[in-house]
């Protein structure tokens, strides 16, 4: 459970997140959508306690600001958008870093730690890469390895910043299915996404952001309407439904043309 009240963030004296209040419920995935620069990543970094913000943030009823760095890392895991792997660590060692907040000075791995890492690697379909140097993997594989690291952290709250970007379609689904499994275990998830269909079908709730503000919030079908997508993204979207939920395809810029032959 994570709650924010009237959260604002200024970066270089520019307001990037503006008066956002939200309450994320355990057992659900909340998707954050919005155009580039809408403040999605900044919102997540503020919720992870990594940048200064005004307003209040509470995790499981405890004020985030009152917690030590280590305590925070045992409550909230943050998967940054920037995918940085600095040394050719094996996938197993890299995922093992996720256990750091729970380990003592000796950093010894218990059987429980190992089991959580294996589970996280299986969830992200990277168990077969366990002994490979992470720097030699493809971009999409690295993304899944880094997600496995955040999952192995085993926190009540997981903030994942564009975890599905750059993944092939099958692994986008693997990613979302993995996050759903975590939700089923009672975790609270906040996930930023750019794929509208993926968001509509896998998230329980959607937060729609524009220019640092929350412009809509609610169930996917209520938030992701044609008018709103036009307003927020400036696109014309084709919206359809099947048994699994909504299908949303951006087909043109609002007021523009719909196919490549018509390009100037």
């Amino acid at each position: 459970m994570i709650e924010a009240r009237n959260l604002s963030v200024d970066l270089s004296s520019r307001r990037v997140v503006s008066g956002i209040s939200l309450g994320l419920v355990p057992g659900t995935i909340t998707g954050v959508l919005g155009p580039n620069g809408a403040g999605k990543s900044t919102l997540m970094r503020a919720l992870a306690g990594q940048i200064a913000s005004t307003g209040s943030i509470a995790v499981d009823g405890r004020e985030l600001a009152s917690l030590s760095f280590a305590e925070r890392a045992r409550l909230v895991a943050h998967l940054p958008q920037a995918r940085i792997i600095s040394w050719p660590l094996t996938v197993r060692d890299l995922v093992g870093l996720g256990r750091m907040p729970w380990q003592g000075v000796s950093r010894a791995f218990s059987n429980g730690d190992r089991a959580l890492c294996t589970e996280a690697m299986e969830m992200m379909d990277v168990a077969g890469l366990a002994e490979r140097p992470a720097t030699e993997l493809s971009g999409g594989e690295q993304a899944r390895v880094l997600a496995a690291r955040a999952i192995a952290q085993d926190t009540p709250v997981l903030l994942a910043d564009e975890p599905a970007s750059g993944l092939d379609p099958a692994h986008q689904m693997t990613m979302m299915a993995g996050l759903r499994k975590l939700a089923a275990k009672g975790r609270t998830l906040l996930v930023s996404l750019h794929d509208l269909t993926l968001a509509a079908r896998w998230c329980d709730r959607i937060l729609l952001m524009k220019e640092g503000r929350l412009v809509a919030e609610g169930a996917p079908a209520d938030v992701l309407t044609a008018e709103r997508l036009g307003e927020v993204f400036g696109i014309l979207a084709h919206i359809d439904h099947d048994a699994g939920g909504m299908i949303l395809a951006p087909v043109a810029l609002a007021g523009g043309t719909a196919h490549r032959e018509a390009r100037p």
């Binding site: 992870a48 305590e71 940085i84 870093l97 750091m100």
Partner: protein
């Protein structure tokens, strides 16, 4: 190689080189007589050679080499940059400048303590500037750039001191000191440097956990519960103490901090923390070996150990780059 085996091998290598360093010198003392004089005393000349000339030299090689290797490994991990070395944060250059000012002003001749004091003052000035800049702009890149700027400024001011130096002898002294040497150091030098190197080394040694987390970038490290500011403080102050104190008594010794972590990284699991102890011992071994070469390579006189480390280090580094073909990890 398992971590234990690597550490044991390096400890053995360092111990052998330390003893070898004690046994080598122009006095041609036998190994048994040398060790006996060191431990038990014996005839006065041998005792003085062993206890007051060779022992401080070997100890300084050990301490300064270890501090360079350790701080190199820490800085590479912290800055996530395989080209980082103690020189990059500007501490070595500022320490050198501090010492050069002591030469230039003539104070170096007046007191044994003037030179180390000047170098330490330079190192700490560098730290204060770096921390002040880091407090305003938190990024690691800012730290590197500030270090580079500080190094350039210190180098320019050092050149200025050479330009304006009152007599050629003073210039010669400055240049010679800048090349780095373990020659003619006393136990007083050891006593000055040891507590500072120990304190700096202890600070640096505590950063292992944070450095591992920094493998995932600054945001990644923070998400693992690492306090970025505290880590930065420990890295900067630890480097300044360890490298500043080393530079204060031996002059600037290049390449050890850069090369040693590179040589040893492939023998570890690449976690920055598992490189710290091996790099400290590797640095000590390399500097002791280089100092033995410096003493024995030329029949007449002696080379500067900084020249030897650069002569061994630079080609070796090139060879590493060519051999690894991929990125230099």
């Amino acid at each position: 190689m398992t971590p234990l085996r690597l550490n044991l091998a390096l400890a053995a290598l360092t111990a052998v080189l330390f003893v070898l360093s004690l046994l080598i010198g122009p006095a041609h003392l036998g190994p048994v007589a040398s060790i006996r004089a060191l431990v038990a005393g014996g005839d006065e000349a041998t005792r003085i050679i062993m206890r007051e000339i060779r022992l401080p030299r070997a100890l300084l090689g050990l301490m300064v080499g270890a501090s360079l290797g350790l701080s190199g490994a820490v800085l590479q991990g912290f800055l996530r940059n395989p080209l980082a070395e103690p020189g990059i944060v500007g501490v070595s250059a500022m320490a050198s400048l501090g010492a050069v000012i002591m030469f230039y002003s003539g104070l170096a001749g007046a007191s044994l303590y003037a030179l180390p004091a000047g170098a330490l003052a330079g190192a700490f000035l560098a730290v204060i500037v770096l921390l002040a800049i880091a407090a305003r702009h938190g990024s690691t890149l800012t730290l590197i750039l500030s270090g580079v700027a500080l190094s350039s400024l210190a180098a320019a001011l050092t050149s200025l001191a050479l330009n304006l130096s009152p007599n050629p002898f003073a210039s010669y002294e400055i240049i010679f000191w800048l090349l780095g040497s373990l020659k003619d150091r006393s136990m007083t030098h050891v006593a000055i440097a040891l507590p500072l190197i120990a304190a700096g080394g202890a600070l640096l040694a505590t950063t292992g956990r944070a450095l591992d987390a920094f493998s995932l970038g600054e945001e990644g490290a923070e998400s693992l519960g690492i306090d970025r500011r505290r880590t930065r403080l420990f890295v900067i102050v630890g480097t300044a103490l360890a490298v500043g104190a080393g530079t204060a008594v031996t002059g600037a010794i290049s390449f050890v901090g850069l090369v040693v972590p590179h040589m040893l990284r492939p023998l570890t699991n690449r976690m920055p923390s598992s490189l710290l102890l091996p790099s400290a011992m590797g640095g000590a071994a390399l500097l002791l070996a280089a100092d033995i070469v410096a003493r024995t390579a030329v029949r007449a006189g002696e080379l500067n150990v900084g020249v030897v480390t650069a002569l061994i280090g630079a080609p070796f580094f090139l060879w590493l780059i060519v051999r690894s073909r991929r990125e230099i990890f």
